[in-house]
Symmetry: C2
DNA sequence: CTATCTGCAAAACATTTGCTGAGCA
DNA sequence: TGCTCAGCAAATGTTTTGCAGATAG
């Protein structure tokens, strides 16, 4: 994987925020520095970067996908009002051992878990 | 809420399957009985029915939304290959009590939890 | 009767892709 | 220099919406 300036800026912007921006939001931020970058390039790079394990594509719900500069799996809270997410640096007590006991003919490989809530901003209004 | 024949058939089809069809799949099924129904009507009704609590809109990930004739919250396994889901009628040991101890300024209201795995069909190939 | 609902078509988004020329290694 | 990548634009897929006529209650 080459380190083009587009790729570098995308990665850099994503590492310096905790707001889990969508692809379009990344695009808007990066465009301040690289005005000629195209949205297609942003999508392509977000995809490549997450496949390479440098960032995380948050397969979250409903709306568009969001991206996280922290590639290690961790817990997110999602605001049910505005859709914004926040990191939670705390483990929930859900054991993988318990998952293997689930009665299903699927081969269980993991969980997708996120907390739902209302963020302080939305709570005010 | 009126009980139109379109709405009745959509609800009926959804109640008689466990496959969590997407809106387009519901459309295809319903069209066998009501050939002139439009996709827009299907979307509108799926939305209304889930807001009324008669069905469940599965806010699942990545791809398009899927719908469940069972409105009560229950666990789903999602195939990471084909995206198909299946119900799991079993509780995981995750207590609401534990959620309230999460350190965040969000007002926690719930969790979104789904299992990931590979379905028997995809496992074969 | 009339407020709600349908069908249709267009619009709105999010995302992907084909192509040609540019630039990293 | 060669292979990967960027920019552009068109295509794709999902969901929403405006409108005029139909219909449940």
């Amino acid at each position: 994987m080459r380190l083009t300036k587009q790729r570098k800026v995308i990665l850099e912007k994503l590492k310096s925020t905790t707001s889990h921006p969508s692809a379009v939001e990344v695009y808007d931020t990066v465009r301040k520095e690289l005005p000629n970058i195209s949205l297609g390039t942003v999508y392509r790079n977000l995809d490549i970067l997450s496949r390479e394990g440098l960032i995380q594509k948050i397969e979250t719900c409903g709306e568009q996908k969001r991206f996280d500069g922290i590639p290690e799996p961790h817990l997110h809270v999602i605001c049910t009002d505005c859709g914004r997410g926040r990191d939670v640096h705390q483990e929930l007590n859900l054991k993988m051992e318990e998952l293997t006991r689930v009665k299903t003919d699927f081969k269980i490989t993991g969980v997708r878990l996120e907390l739902l809530g209302v963020c302080p901003e939305c709570d005010r209004s």
